[in-house]
């Protein structure tokens, strides 16, 4: 776990149209941390990929909470889906497709995700290059 200095929290409706806010927020935090254009681009791809994973065709997923933590090691982003009216109990768990995994492996340093039906979530770490 990275040491937490600062944190930005965003809650958005679980709809694709709001994912740009997730991408923008993560990019803005990364920019403040001095990430390069390349790294910010990578981060945007990863956040997009993992947020889509949270959506995962789940009807009734109400909101996504995105937390960007500024650590010594890099930027740590977690995302969690929450349900409206307990809809999650009937949802089916999802898995990250192979191509998504491939993409994530090449754009972030660490990632994990849980397609658990009751509380889908992800976490990623993007380290800053030693410029």
């Amino acid at each position: 776990m990275v040491e937490v200095d600062d944190e930005v929290r965003l809650v958005i409706p679980a709809e694709p149209g709001f994912l740009r806010l997730a991408r923008l927020t993560a990019a803005a935090v990364a920019s403040r941390m001095g990430f390069t254009f390349d790294e910010v681009e990578d981060l945007r791809i990863a956040v997009d990929e993992l947020c889509y994973f949270l959506l995962g065709g789940r009807a009734g997923l109400g909101a996504i909470t995105l937390v960007c933590r500024i650590g010594d090691d890099g930027l740590d982003v977690t995302g969690a889906g929450s349900w409206t009216n307990g809809a999650g109990s009937s949802a089916t768990p999802t898995q990250l497709p192979e191509l998504s995994r491939r993409i994530l492996e090449s754009v972030v340093d660490e990632y994990e995700c849980d397609g658990d039906s009751a509380a889908p979530s992800f976490r990623l770490l993007k380290r800053r290059s030693a410029a």
């Binding site: 709809e15 694709p16 149209g17 994912l19 740009r20 991408r23 923008l24 990019a27 803005a28 920019s31 001095g34 990430f35 390069t36 254009f37 390349d38 790294e39 910010v40 681009e41 945007r44 791809i45 997009d48 990929e49 947020c51 889509y52 994973f53 949270l54 959506l55 995962g56 065709g57 999802t94 990250l96 497709p97 192979e98 191509l99 998504s100 491939r102 993409i103 492996e105 090449s106 754009v107 410029a131």
Partner: protein, 258 residues
């Protein structure tokens, strides 16, 4: 645009007659009678960087299509039928221009500028520039640069072979023309085997870019210099490819594709 019942009934009769006879002068009459609707909708899309005249023209052509397709027997008001057609054409017009409707002009311009700025700075610094460095060079704020990066996604999914307006740096002659020799490499059996079947739904050149980025681990800048296109363009093509893969179910969240 509000018509009284008498006018409405008269128009309906004309539509019935036009559906039967396909008489051109009748068609023109029907278009004239509804031109205000086209103009009204065109104005709704003004102040988004396109001349109103062009928008009116687009809307009028859509109106013409709507008149030709309208079936008065289905009991729908013509305006109810025509409005989605006209709005659809107006939106398509903006997309054809390369931008989704909601991207502000300032951000569009900055996005187009990004290619040059990022390339120049990368050369000067010998590394990928940071966002504040790009902002300073472009005379913009960091937030504007981030918005401009995000704006790359607003690009319409055009054919890679099509020339693009307003970004003459690398795209004016069509991207395909610039990729030439690299295509040969993509036909390489080895590469194809590895990509198949995950990426086969993408056009060959985008398969190459996705392959280089995610399978070979090249950075966007490295791909850009290898293919002799700008990094911003690589970014845009990657975003587009991922969107296409998502729509085709290769990535997560397929049923929610943007």
């Amino acid at each position: 645009m509000s018509l009284d019942d008498g006018e409405r009934a008269a128009l309906r009769e004309k539509f019935v007659e036009y559906a039967r006879t396909r008489d051109q002068s009748l068609r023109d009459e029907l278009i004239t009678a509804h031109i205000a609707l086209a103009e009204y909708l065109a104005r709704r899309f003004s102040n988004r960087g396109e001349p109103l005249d062009d928008l009116v023209q687009v809307a009028s052509l859509a109106l013409l299509k709507a008149v030709e397709r309208f079936d008065p027997d289905r009991g729908l008001e013509f305006s109810t039928f025509a409005t989605p057609t006209i709005v659809g054409e107006l939106k398509r017009h903006f997309r054809d221009k390369g931008w989704a409707v909601r991207v502000p002009r300032r951000v569009q311009e900055l996005h187009l500028q990004l290619s040059t700025v990022v390339a120049t700075l990368a050369q000067e610094l010998g590394r990928s520039p940071t966002i504040p460095e790009i902002a300073k060079e472009a005379g913009a704020t960091e937030e504007e640069v981030l918005e401009a990066m995000e704006a790359g996604r607003a690009y319409r999914l055009t054919s890679i072979d099509a020339p693009r307006a307003g970004d003459n740096e690398e795209e004016g002659t069509g991207i395909a023309a610039r990729l030439g020799d690299e295509d040969e490499r993509l036909d390489n059996v080895e590469v194809r085997l590895e990509l198949s079947p995950l990426l086969e739904s993408l056009p060959p050149r985008e398969q190459l870019i996705v392959h280089l980025r995610f399978f070979e681990g090249l950075t966007q800048s490295e791909i850009a210099s290898r293919l002799d296109i700008s990094q911003v363009h690589v970014s845009r093509l990657l975003a587009r490819s991922l969107q296409q893969l998502r729509e085709r179910g290769e990535l997560g969240g397929a049923s929610f594709a943007e």
